[in-house]
Symmetry: C2
Subunit: 642 residues, 2 copies
Amino acid sequence: MSFADAVNYKAIQLCRRAVEMTAAAGSGHPSSANSLAHITAVLMYHKMRYDLMNPWNPHSDRLVLSEGHAVPIIYAAYADLGGVVGTDPANGRKLSVDDLKTLRDIESVLDGHPNPAVGFPFFDAATGSLGQGISVAAGLGLAAQMDGSDKTIYVLCGDGESREGQIWEALDFLADRGLTNVRVIFNCNKMGQSDYVSDQQSPETLAAKVKAYGLHPVVINGHDPDAVLQALSLAPPEGKPVVVIARTTKGWGVSELQQVGYHGKPLTGEGADAALEELKLPDPPPDVQLCPAMPKGEIPEADGGPIAMPDPDFTELAEGTKFADGAAKGELATRHAYGLTLLALGKASDRIVALDGDVSNSTFSQLFGQAFPERFFECRIAEQNMISTAAGLAATGKVPFANSFAKFLVRAYDQIEMAAYTCANVKIVGSHSGISLGADGPSQMGVVDTAFFGSLASVRTPKGHPGAVVLNPCDAISTYKLTCLMADYEGLAYMRTLRPTTPFLYQPDETFRLIGQKVLVEGKDLVIVSWGYMVHESLKAIETLKADGVECGLVDAYSLPLADDFLETVGGATLLVVEDNYAGGLGSAVAVAAGDRTGVRVGTMTPERMPKSGKSADDVLAYVGLDSDSICRRVRAVLGKA
Amino acid sequence: MSFADAVNYKAIQLCRRAVEMTAAAGSGHPSSANSLAHITAVLMYHKMRYDLMNPWNPHSDRLVLSEGHAVPIIYAAYADLGGVVGTDPANGRKLSVDDLKTLRDIESVLDGHPNPAVGFPFFDAATGSLGQGISVAAGLGLAAQMDGSDKTIYVLCGDGESREGQIWEALDFLADRGLTNVRVIFNCNKMGQSDYVSDQQSPETLAAKVKAYGLHPVVINGHDPDAVLQALSLAPPEGKPVVVIARTTKGWGVSELQQVGYHGKPLTGEGADAALEELKLPDPPPDVQLCPAMPKGEIPEADGGPIAMPDPDFTELAEGTKFADGAAKGELATRHAYGLTLLALGKASDRIVALDGDVSNSTFSQLFGQAFPERFFECRIAEQNMISTAAGLAATGKVPFANSFAKFLVRAYDQIEMAAYTCANVKIVGSHSGISLGADGPSQMGVVDTAFFGSLASVRTPKGHPGAVVLNPCDAISTYKLTCLMADYEGLAYMRTLRPTTPFLYQPDETFRLIGQKVLVEGKDLVIVSWGYMVHESLKAIETLKADGVECGLVDAYSLPLADDFLETVGGATLLVVEDNYAGGLGSAVAVAAGDRTGVRVGTMTPERMPKSGKSADDVLAYVGLDSDSICRRVRAVLGKA
């Protein structure tokens, strides 16, 4: 019996299980799953080298299922092969075919869409929001290149999915970096959810596009095992990454599932019976046994180990650089301090890598890029690809810092949310945050970032961490310390940095917690709580008010979520939270924290109206009602001294 | 003297002004601006037919500056021609060359990046966050097609910018719809911000890509006026939209600006003097006078007029549809009610148009699409393009409803934020919101949406509206009423709809305000404030608590921002806000509103941890701590009855 027969047998078996498990779940996507039956069988039973007993084995080939809804076919194969599941090696156990019936159960590791964080570590990233997989694979491929590993990263994408712009950002990136260790497979089953896919996503057009992008397209019949194997094994011609374009049948093997309107529809009752009747297994079964080969290489003890921390004082860090004068004077933009810290981290630990979206001379990730070009990835103006690539890098134990303007990162919030579900150890740094940027106007200002990341900060991940840690330091010293803590922290963290120069408010030996706050000024009448640039504007207001006999305290609440001891530390019965981002960030968190305490009043100040360009930060702050005069007015009003 | 000489003269003049105005502003992008000098001169002085005295004239050709940072060159031309600026015809005034010195001033209509909302109506959309312009142009082009207008929409994009995936989503869309009235011009000046652009964005590769996308590329010298004019005038071959790929010089005419490191850098002092020295105007000036032709066509009285409202009761609306039974029983998913309402709105007003991202059979925009195929735009799986296209449609007076899963819309938050700055009259509807979706898991759940849109809701636009209105109705009746109000409202609004069926809580004759709340249950011990699905879960809890002698009230707080009378209407000194989205939405808004009142306690409940798949909504709600049992426990704890 031939290889093809053996694959076909497995494919039918997997299709049966996909039908059965989605029937048991009462939901799911058997039609998409079954279109991948032969490709999955060739990959998981033969082509991929991977370690079924240790899915964390770093030498294994990897599979990224970009079209996450097709996951039942992967679960079916993995269960059949008895692969290990679990959130970490300590709680690993073999998946059984019986477990497939738990698909989408609240207790099950078999989530509706791929997610390693809930216990399916065969995958490196949560997928299901479409278009992100090739970028994740690019990150895995970059890491393999850096580590001298010869593993291959396979990535399965839908044809309808290939309409997502991120797919083409990712292909540009594969071409730019010559990532021949990534093998993209487009599953062209011709149907989307609501209709047939556009001709713009036909196999012919996809092949033409892929070629124009400088990659090597191969169009095959995705249900022909020999053709699939050949395409997956093809050596990259002229160093061009190979992209396999597989013509497939949605709902392969089951007539009912092949109709429009059967996206995401399980078959139940008679429908399921008829499907299983159609999906007849050949008798006798094949006499060829398929199973994947083991990857080669020793398994390292730990996953990279702790990040070494730079230990000089900040001023030492700046010595010999163009920031030395600013550091000596005690005045520097936090983005400058961040750049210096990233460079120092890069020197201390080779797990640190950085990515930027063509603004490295503004974010100051450039300092790292110039020192460590082999660990710096210029992602160009394509933020979505940058974030998902960072998630891929993080899955290998690298500690990626992804940099852009805070505003441009809004482009990648979907990708960031998915990275949060993955519990990806990604650090995201947004410069030019808030409205102190001034002249460039709102299209360049990060003002919704604290609400978005703050919302992620409000939930716990499966690992028990906040979904995101948000940092908004006000000066160079705290930026230095917090960047180090962020690197050392295992989880998703976001830091805002500022365009303008701000004076140092901390001494070099000040110590910080990742999640915490600092009392900068004690004051009996009212306590201003602020972060980032607005700490400085608040200080101005406090000086003015002091001259009038009003004594305000000031707390630098540099992080979200708030620390457990936040209210206790802040003290005071009357708080005023001042921030230059739209509502939903710090002020909301403080109001929520204080909400069910009696006797604590919390006022909040956020921009009253959308900013526009102004020649100075002061002009724009006044325009939106956040300059120090506005703060003074508000304090007086709160205290009844207006 | 030739056309080319006349254009060249204007180009030099415009470059001089771009240098001068950015020098005066102390910031800006003269190098990018000057790379567009000849293209701008050909377009604005000759090729475009437009009405300088009435930039709102609907018959005018339009220009979308996707690479918004290059805007000084456009301002220079518009000022030279004496075009009208202002936020509406009532306050229109001619822009003068003197005004150019106000670039980026807080009082100026000349913002750092294009924005019609601050008074530069020559543009239809705020740009500056890159990659969005072609999609906006596609929306303008669709509207022109619908209106039988022969106007042309020109759109200028950077080469570095063409790395953004959205650009390619937009080109797919142009090809799909055969939008030959959109003429894309790629400005290939070879330099990004931090470095040269990748070879993936070279003129040759761009041409190959454009061809593969089924469009017609024309590569020209962007500083050759005749070549520019010819390319802009080329009739679309075989009905394929023409894409002009213009080789240009960044910092044209000024040696200093042509170096790497001069992105976004104005020249001042000697640098500016040297630049003006280089940019010598030919003497004598050309004897050909260039000026744009007027567009043809009567100017209609008003901009479309008010939206006619459907007036039947909801049950009548559902009659004869597959939802009739559900409506009669008083149980229907809000997404079904939304679909029926959108259809009714479509019948009432032909200004209503709809877009979807291949999920119209889930969002139920399908009902509209089947009835009005000429007003329904299938955008496929490309949410970014969908939103910016909707913004383009809105600029022409259409009232676009853009639909997808609430989760997939996260992909387009950058585009949505830009639409908010435009004050675009766009309606966005996200289905499968919250975690009641259950089985599909977090990759399909809209849970950060209320924080994001809530943050926009916290600021006022230049028109005085909230940056966004957020609606989260709990039943079919309120969905019907609020969808109608949303259509009638002039501004950006977002509605969440639910996957599962929910019982009707309102009578057909209930009247609603767009921004408001409804007291559903009176109760003396504590008032639960909720929205969307959680209103029902809260009702369950209230029933249970009642049996124990605890009397809780319930308020359906269906909108953000909160109404001015919110706290007054809610009454009660002890509030508990319950919602199935991450923090930053309703609970935050209530806590902030109540924050500086003494005597009002506000507790909040949002998911304690990230959701995962569960077979039922109840399973997932229990998993994240939001089922009715959890609500009861919390109420008892708050009231000290635990």
